[in-house]
């Protein structure tokens, strides 16, 4: 062995040279791989965005600097060159030269001053010496003259005196001469001093300008430099291998501590890196707003061109989001808390941008290399559903200001009663939507009505919220099954129903009078909630607050209707239908009229009940065999009578379809809703949803196609869709009914709104600190807001542009007279105590049987709603605690802030706001109120009762003046006590009875109202006596001749003790009594 090894020493198994070559190759490959990895790491998407952004920033900085310079009155005209800083430097140079030129004059002036000062000093000393001598000599001369007994000092008689006088005079003249010369020297010195001071002042001016300019230049240069990618140092900082130190192109992040991400094992704060690319998100003043859906080329940043992506746009609602002054500033709220999508990551596709539609998807795929990624269950919400995020924090609000789609969704869900089957938090404890079914036998004129109704609700009333359970696509397999199920259900309900005590309709109604009562000029108020085909509008056939009454005569018995109209709560204690205080005759007229409204087509429709028991037996068999053998089930069924079979089948079906979700059914008061709970549905994982046989794309389900949004949309369009292609037993089939309002082909807006609402119900991952926390007052306001909607105040009244549906029937100029009053600023207008009593009982009983109305000429009546005391408090709180300018105590502050807000955020101009959705109005008020409160502004309701300046009791002269003014202005012509229309006036001219003003109105409001009625109630007929014209507020009474005093006097007069008696007097006179 040893020999062998020695022999072979030097020889190797592998060729060393070849191995060396391999070594070279492998080291080369490894180096290339290493470099490639660094290069790949260096090449990041966001750097392109940041680079372009900085380019624009630099250019913007330059342009802004130039604009600022121009605005500051730069004397030199600046060209279009890019180098503003350079041009500023030229200006500095010019100023310096100017300063230097002045400086050259300084020595000369200084010498002059020096000389003048010298001359003055010399003269001054001489003068002072002469003065001392003269004064000393005067004393000597005076004493001598006295001693000599001279009579006149100017004309001495003695010789001695004469000589002394000569000497004295000589000295006096010398002194006067010198004094004159001294004054001259002094003025010359002052002039020299002023010349120098003028030079100094000029110098200081230039110096200050120079300092400011130099600072500007430094700032601009720094700013421009920091964005300057061409600078060597910047290049170095961003260069590959060295960019680990302090690159300018770097990922940026916002840590959102109060909105968490659920990583299943722990919740972590969101770390939003969106601003790495979306760098202009809060720069709404410089960059145009919007997103990819908005076209480019706005004026704000002329540098932004069509090729630039949406990343450089600012937030489209800067007043609400992103900016530091907005309620949701970027530092605290981040981005993904609302938008969803991936945080802790950068890159277009990787952050789960979600296209809104197929077109956008195509564009993205092509231009931005978008592809579906499914590593995160909460991709960005498409812009269609963005408002779903608001609810995360705004959980206690009925309507979220600004979230128009969500609000609409909530309203629709509330009207359709989705919460009857699907438990959802915002509707916990809300009463069932549909009417009770406990006494149906007393209600319907024709017992077949219910069969036909359940069969196809829309055939009787297209606008009904009652959804269609039958004739759906997944039921087409079993002919006759629908009829059997409906028959069984209705039989069971009739069986459960008990008779109800009804007033009997006297039969004396006059249909013509009833029609007038019902609908002429909106009628007594029925039209605020109900529509009818006799009075068609655009809204006929839409879902309104109350059911449309076309065809009602085919449905109910006259007795039932009579009882219902007179006292709705006696038939259904939970109903929202108010009491209009109709007399029995009026009720009878209305019944007579409504009974003429028949749906003949529906009446003629027949419903084919199953001829034999077989279909019912089939239903029973299906249900019973779930827990027993078929033979045993058949025995049980055989033992039942035909009626029992129907009832029993009906019971099963009622439980199956969950009718009790919307209707009160005796015995099912506490039944659990049958649908899936929707709380947290917005966080439900898409793979927990059954997409049925919808064709799956191969192994990689596209997120955008198979997400919860698309599932929900399809479900609402066709609730039975996912049963397609499946073989199921009847009781296993999907049973969610079809709401005609949401069906495919109906309004996409409504469906989107409902989807937005459902998607907003997410698993809660926000810290309490970031949620909108309501104070006790605000909670009462929200409860009140809900009541205002439930009781449908806005059916008749207009509230910030919302509602006022009854106006659709009050047509023409005459109709306008009957417009129910606006409720804008109602809380500021009236005293809460009065409003409470008014809502409790809108008719003020005067004790003598006569009834006084606030607006007796009105046709529509303010109904008696039967509010509970707690509800009254809430409604009054709702109006009284509004944070709107009506209630602000410092109008000027409010107006200033509102003006500033409008200037900062265009889109809230008065005219636009009037036309906009009411939520935008509310939003505007909320946002201005926020600034107002921050500036220390207060609201009326926060001040002491009676909320505003307490009117002074009027005495003596003032009282007479006020009395005269009241007569001069002829207030009484419109404000007639008792609402009697004077001859020559129409009801349209009438205004409220002022005898109620003292207890009704807020003094503060009255004062403002007199000043600018038009602003408080657009369209009011109250003449603006004191309207400012040409910058001057006119006076109406020459005796007083002070507009402010006039308004104060009038206000105080209304609230004075003597007003009531005077008012009647004046009215009598006016009526010519």
């Amino acid at each position: 062995m040893a020999e062998e090894r020695i022999k072979d020493a030097g020889a190797t198994f592998f060729d060393v040279k070849a191995m060396n070559r391999w070594f070279l190759v492998s080291v080369a490959v490894l180096t290339v791989a290493y470099v490639a990895s660094v290069v790949q790491d260096h090449d990041r998407e966001f750097k392109g965005y940041q680079g372009r952004f900085f380019e624009m920033e630099r250019e913007l900085a330059v342009r802004q600097g130039r604009a600022a310079f121009d605005a500051a009155g730069g004397e030199k005209v600046i060209g279009d060159g890019v180098d503003t800083a350079g041009e500023l430097r030229d200006e500095i140079e010019r100023l310096r030269r100017m300063r230097d030129g002045d400086e050259r004059r300084r020595p000369e002036l200084a010498t002059a001053l020096h000389d003048a000062q010298f001359r003055f000093d010399v003269k001054n000393a001489e003068m002072k010496m002469a003065k001392a001598r003269f004064e000393a000599e005067r004393f000597i001369y005076e004493e001598l003259a006295h001693h000599l007994g001279e009579h006149a000092l100017e004309a001495p008689e003695t010789e001695e005196g004469k000589a002394a006088y000569e000497k004295y005079l000589d000295l006096k003249r010398t002194y006067e001469q010198l004094d004159e010369e001294n004054k001259q020297a002094e003025s010359e010195r002052d002039a020299a001093q002023q010349a120098l001071a003028a030079l100094d002042a000029l110098d200081g001016d230039v110096a200050a300008k120079l300092v400011a300019l130099e600072r500007d230049v430094a700032r601009l240069e720094k700013r421009a430099d920091s964005f300057d990618a061409e600078r060597g140092f910047t290049k170095f900082r961003n260069s590959i291998f060295f960019n680990f130190m302090a690159p300018t192109l770097t990922p940026r992040k916002i840590v959102v501590n109060e909105i968490l991400d659920d990583l299943n094992f722990l919740s972590v704060p969101k770390v939003d890196m969106c601003i790495s690319c979306h760098m202009a998100s809060d720069r709404f003043k410089d960059y145009p707003a919007g997103n990819a859906h908005v076209t480019f080329g706005d004026e704000k940043n002329p540098l932004l061109n069509d090729d630039d992506s949406g990343a450089f746009r600012s937030h489209s609602k800067p007043e609400l989001f992103c900016t530091s002054l907005s309620p949701h500033n970027q530092e605290r709220f981040g981005c993904s808390g609302c938008h969803g999508g991936g945080n802790q990551r950068v890159g277009f596709a990787k952050t789960f941008h979600t296209p809104s539609d197929a077109h956008e998807r195509e564009v993205w795929e092509e231009e931005l290399h978008w592809h579906p990624v499914h590593e995160w269950e909460y991709p960005m919400l498409g812009s269609r559903f963005l408002e779903a995020s608001c609810y995360k924090c705004h959980q206690d609000e009925v309507h979220i200001p600004g979230a128009e789609k969500w609000n609409r969704g909530r309203d629709i869900v509330s009207k359709l009663g989705c919460f009857g089957c699907h438990k959802m938090e915002p509707f916990d404890g809300v009463r069932r939507t549909g009417p009770p079914l406990g006494h149906v036998t007393s209600k319907f004129a024709d017992l077949d009505f219910m069969l036909k109704w359940v069969d196809e609700p829309a055939s009787f009333r297209p606008s009904t919220p009652m959804p269609a359970f039958f004739h759906r696509e997944n039921r087409s397999m079993e002919p006759g099954r629908d009829a059997a199920e409906i028959t069984a259900l209705v039989t069971y309900l009739y069986n459960l129903s008990s008779p109800q005590q009804l007033k009997s309709y006297p039969g004396s109604g006059d249909a013509a009078k009833g029609k007038v009562l019902f609908g002429e000029f909106g009628g007594v108020g029925c039209m605020g909630c109900h529509g009818i085909d006799d009075f068609p509008t655009d809204k006929l056939g839409e879902l309104r607050h109350g059911p449309e009454l076309s065809g009602i005569g085919s449905k109910v018995t006259p007795d039932w209707l009579y009882t219902w109209i007179l006292d709705p709560k006696s038939l259904w204690p939970a109903t929202n239908m108010p009491d209009l205080r109709l007399t029995e005759q009026e009720a009878a007229d209305l019944v007579a009229y409504l009974m003429t409204r028949r749906n003949v087509a529906f009446e003629q429709k027949s419903f084919a009940k199953p001829a034999d028991d077989a279909p019912f037996e089939q239903i029973l068999l299906e249900k019973l065999t779930e827990r027993m053998t078929a033979a045993r089930a058949a025995e049980e069924i055989a033992a039942m009578s035909g009626l029992e079979k129907r009832r029993k089948a009906g019971e099963y079906l009622l439980n199956h379809y969950g009718c009790f979700g919307c209707h009160e059914v005796p015995g099912y008061e506490d039944a659990k809703p049958i649908g899936a709970e929707l709380n947290g549905w917005g966080s439900k994982h898409a793979d927990r949803l059954d997409f049925g046989m919808v064709e799956f794309e191969w192994k990689d389900p596209e997120v955008a196609k198979f997400n919860r949004e698309s599932w929900l949309e399809q479900k609402l369009k066709n609730t039975r869709f996912y049963d397609r292609g499946k073989d199921k037993k009847p009781f296993e089939k999907l049973k969610m009914p079809q709401f005609s309002q949401l069906t495919e082909g109906m309004s996409d807006a409504d469906r989107d709104a409902v989807m937005t609402f459902v998607l907003s119900l997410v698993k809660d991952n926000t810290a309490p600190s970031i949620k909108r926390q309501l104070t006790a007052d605000e909670q009462a306001v929200e409860r009140g807001a809900l009541l205002v909607r439930e009781k449908n105040c806005i059916g008749c009244h207009l509230l910030y542009g919302e509602g006022g549906e009854i106006r659709n029937f009050q047509l023409g100029d005459e109709g306008k007279a009957y417009y129910p009053p606006l409720l804008d600023g109602q809380g500021a207008r009236t005293q809460p105590a009065w409003l409470t009593s008014f809502l409790h009982d809108p008719v003020f009983g005067k004790g003598d049987g006569a009834k006084a109305h606030l607006r007796p000429w009105m046709k529509a009546r303010m109904p008696t709603f039967g509010f509970t005391p707690a509800e009254l408090n809430d409604v009054v709180a709702y109006f009284a605690h509004e944070k709107v300018w009506h209630t602000s105590t410092e109008r000027e502050l409010w107006d200033t802030l509102a003006t500033k807000f409008r200037k900062d955020f265009p889109g809230y101009e008065e005219a636009q706001l009037r036309k906009a959705d009411h939520t935008k109005v509310k939003l505007f008020h909320d946002l201005v109120a926020r600034n107002y409160e921050r500036q220390g502004g207060g609201f009326t309701y926060e001040s002491e009762y009676p909320y505003g300046a307490r009117p002074q009791p009027l005495v003596g002269d003032d009282l007479d003046k006020a009395r005269n003014l009241f007569q001069k202005l002829q207030c009484v012509l419109c404000h007639m006590p008792g609402g009697v229309v004077p001859t020559g006036k129409s009801p349209a001219d009438m205004a409220p009875d002022l005898s109620l003003a003292r207890e009704r109105l807020s003094p503060n409001w009255v004062r403002h109202w007199l000043e600018v009625p038009e602003v408080y109630q657009p369209g009011t007929r109250m003449p603006p006596f004191w309207k400012i014209e040409g910058g001057v507020r006119p006076s109406v009474d020459p005796d007083i001749n002070d507009p402010v005093r006039e308004m104060d006097l009038l206000r105080d007069y209304l609230f004075s003790d003597s007003f009531a008696a005077d008012y009647q007097e004046v009215a009598k006179k006016a009526r010519g009594e």
């Binding site: 190797t12 198994f13 592998f14 070594f23 492998s26 080291v27 490894l30 990895s37 799956f696």
Partner: protein, 356 residues
């Protein structure tokens, strides 16, 4: 064509084809290892992939960053299997002719630590690192959503190198498939140097001199490990259901699965009575079967087929080897029973949570 492949991919067929193929390759190794035949098979595989990858589903499945190493591995396993058999065949011929194996001729002497060993290892390290780097650059690590205990991925799969183990879970109770069997695999591998004292084949390739050892290896590794990885990776989809390579992975695919216990077969089908209530009596046939399989089979074999082997190895080595071998073979036996009789457990003592 695609339907045909889908049909072939049914697990029992797939397993059968794979087993037959491996045995055929060993049996007719001279034919299969001929470079022309091997190249034809290789190109055939390439052509199959090129054709199949035009199917979007197949492509999605194959090109998943998770699955690419497995494709590499398939080709590598094929190549090295071929290489070993090719050289074994050559050597066997030389040995038959009375010559020394190639390896002995090629390099009869010892090699140097430097440069032959250390330098070449260093080169391998460099190249390996470069390949890993480039791989990582070209194929990004497939990140997934945050782990959620309430929502596990569907299908839920182990890392690819453990998929064989995971497949065993389909046929055995977790305590066996997850604890005992992996333990035995590791221990068995460790025991090999002590059990297998046969010096033949050391340092050179041969088949004829070690037919049992090499066949066992091919069966245990290629059939029971690699094929299971392929099966688990490419053919098991959502809910662990089987899908052909060209079949869409539909979440809702339902497989008819019924569980039958051996005690049911024994008492209800063979004896026609109801099963005894006590677990011991009820499971006695199963226990007897298992004990019989592990205790009696080695003895029977020792007296019959394996006489020569016992003589060579001695009893302790023989018993150790044979029990390990039988446990390995139990795997395909159980699979076949499962597919043919829906048999879940041979011993099913729920009272003690003991299932075999």
């Amino acid at each position: 064509m695609k339907e045909f492949f889908n049909a072939l991919a049914d697990p029992s067929r797939f397993f059968l084809i794979f087993t037959v193929a491996v045995f055929a390759m060993l049996k007719w190794r001279e034919f299969f290892t001929a470079p022309k035949v091997a190249l034809t098979i290789f190109f055939g595989a390439v052509v199959f992939f090129v054709w199949a990858i035009r199917d979007p589903g197949f492509k999605a499945n194959i090109t998943k960053p998770d699955n690419i190493p497995i494709i590499f591995m398939l080709f590598l396993v094929g190549f090295f299997s071929w290489l070993s058999l090719y050289r074994a065949v050559k050597n066997d011929r030389r040995i038959d002719r009375g010559e020394l194996p190639e390896e002995a001729v090629e390099n009869p002497k010892k090699v140097l630590t430097w440069p032959d060993l250390v330098y070449s290892e260093f080169l391998c390290m460099l190249i390996g690192t470069a390949v890993l780097l480039i791989w990582a650059l070209l194929l990004k690590a497939p990140l997934e959503e945050p782990a959620n205990p309430n929502k596990t991925p569907n299908p839920s799969k182990a890392p690819w190198y453990f998929l064989g183990l995971q497949e065993m879970l389909v046929y055995f109770d977790p305590w066996l498939a997850g604890v005992i069997l992996p333990g035995l695999i590791v221990n068995g591998l460790m025991a090999i140097p002590y059990v297998d004292t046969n010096p033949k084949g050391n340092g050179y390739y041969t088949f004829k001199e070690r037919p049992f050892a090499i066949t066992s290896f091919f069966f245990g590794f290629i059939v029971l490990w690699v094929s299971m990885i392929i099966l688990m990776t490419f053919l098991r989809g959502p809910n662990q259901a089987f899908f052909g390579p060209f079949e869409p992975w539909n979440l809702h695919k339902v497989e008819p699965t019924v569980n039958i216990q051996f005690s049911q077969i024994f008492w209800e089908q063979w004896l026609g009575t109801s099963r005894p209530t006590g677990w011991f009596l009820r499971e006695l046939p199963g226990i007897a079967l298992v004990v019989g399989y592990l205790a009696i089979t080695p003895m029977l074999l020792a007296k019959t087929v394996c006489k020569k082997m016992v003589a060579q190895m001695g009893n302790p080595r023989y018993l150790t080897m044979m029990i390990m071998f039988l446990i390995m073979v139990a795997m395909p036996i159980k699979m076949v029973l499962r597919w043919t009789f829906n048999l879940q457990f041979i011993v099913n003592i729920q009272e003690l949570f003991l299932n075999i």
